[in-house]
Symmetry: C2
Subunit: 292 residues, 2 copies
């Protein structure tokens, strides 16, 4: 297992972690500068942040700082109540793949979506099996495009508490079953983004990480599970403040061959998004070295 | 599949559903009277409610009304930081089994526990694998006692969002693996309590229900998953108000041989616990007939 205690060369910052600082939204250009000041070598930006800052400007800024990507957030959200909606979702994913290529991302992360409309509180249908079929077809079509462009897709299984609104792929096993069906040759073009927050509870986690192997493990995200957790979405903890066995899980993925970044992704309305970006980044670095 | 539309003979009320009425705690004796007034044939009471009302008094009141149990809530919470704690938890489970017998319950429901202390916000340890081993040993010891007394144990897999605080058994597959290990003869003394709220998201749900079969399916709980869900514990919805495919899942369990009660278990601080018991019970009956 790699020794993280001496530096933070394998730390990546998902830009959602510092998208709000002292309660205020902060632009991506400023976030990239802050990461550079803290010696962060990689980030994972979100599409809306990139769109607001300008895709080409972001690409140029990253090159100027020598900062790479650990992933691009995010494609997915395939299900829709009708054919027009399914088509629009696919086209949006093609654009996301192109953007990821422009930014030289190692992978596009897919939050696949679930019951359409549920995120707004009113599901257009409740058949999660249908949503899963639409997701399967959507990934298949995206993969065809991604192969041409040369952009690997990383399916992110989301915590089951997000199964209605954000993703109907909820376990690593389920994600790997889809990978095996659509990419039986294990080409490196389809794999998973493993976020400890979503999967730490899974009794089959160790087994399925071993099954995934190096070629399927395209990204690794860390944060922590707080007790109590006060919100289903935006109450993630800083590494070390919760109950997730971070070193144990990293041991498993490294034993499976993963040697990439450890990306910090924290959504925290009440705590970290109320602090300064400097404090949050410094804490990420310190915890990366001590508890990740 | 049974027709529920004409009556509510297969409806059971988990007494937590009406434990608070118009914001006030209500005693079990009153709840039992209300259920009798509404023609409810079965309930599933909680140990703390039974203790407050008096075990023998509750048993007598149920006999007088001709009301049976669909289960007894609850044993479990096995993990502990030390041997004394493990022993105390076991002894408490033996008492729960005895109480269930006195009340003539068809099963004792087990919410198995997880990281000790996490429920109070401070986990004594974070090794969920250790908690799972302690749970396995606890169920094994409880089963030995339960066999003597003649009280089936129903393991309730809890939603993964409860994995830190309340139960480290989080999927039906995991629960059935334990059943098969401890009761390979499928004796009817060890099975599962299936609550749709905890398992509706599971991509392997249909497959694992078929695997469970009639002898392992000891109890069935219903409510609904709201979008958004505002609280990890106490924001369950009334059947029909959320996204769970209730009739589909009941179809699966009945195809597997289940022919028992459909037990309504709703924790709802902001909504149903603010209403009158009469309104809640009448709504349970109406939804049981129309959407369950």
């Amino acid at each position: 297992m790699r020794d993280f205690s001496n530096d933070h060369r394998w730390l990546s910052i998902n830009t959602a972690t510092v998208r709000r600082q002292k309660g205020e939204e902060v632009g991506l250009a400023r976030i990239i500068d802050q990461c550079a000041e803290h010696g962060v070598r990689a980030i994972s930006p979100w599409r809306d942040q990139v769109a607001a800052a300008g895709l080409d400007k972001v690409a140029a800024q990253l090159r100027a700082h020598g900062i790479g990507l650990s992933g691009y957030c995010r494609g997915g959200f395939y299900p829709a109540p009708d054919a027009a909606g399914l088509k629009a979702a696919l086209e949006d994913n093609y654009r996301a793949i192109d953007e990821a290529k422009t930014l030289d991302a190692p992978c596009l992360v897919l939050v696949v979506g679930s019951l359409p409309g549920a995120l707004a509180g009113k599901a257009a249908y409740t058949d999660i099996g249908r949503a899963r079929n639409e997701v399967f077809d959507g990934i298949a079509a995206s993969l065809e495009y991604a192969r041409k462009v040369g952009m690997p897709l990383a399916i992110e299984p989301l915590h089951p508490m997000q199964a209605a609104e954000r993703a109907c792929i909820n376990t690593l096993e389920q994600a790997l079953d889809i990978c095996d069906a659509l990419d039986p040759q294990d080409s490196g073009m389809l794999g998973v983004a493993l976020d400890v927050y979503h999967v730490w509870w899974d009794p089959k986690l160790q087994q399925q990480i071993a099954r995934a192997g190096k070629k399927r493990l395209l990204a690794y995200h860390v944060c922590d599970w707080l007790t109590p957790t006060r919100d289903l979405l935006n109450d993630r903890g800083m590494m070390g403040d919760g109950v997730i066995e971070l070193k144990k899980i990293r041991g498993w993925i490294e034993a499976a061959g993963y040697a990439g970044y450890s990306e910090v992704e924290i959504f925290s309305t009440q705590d970290w998004w109320q602090r300064s970006g400097e404090e949050t980044l410094a804490t990420c670095i310190e915890r990366h070295r001590s508890v990740v």
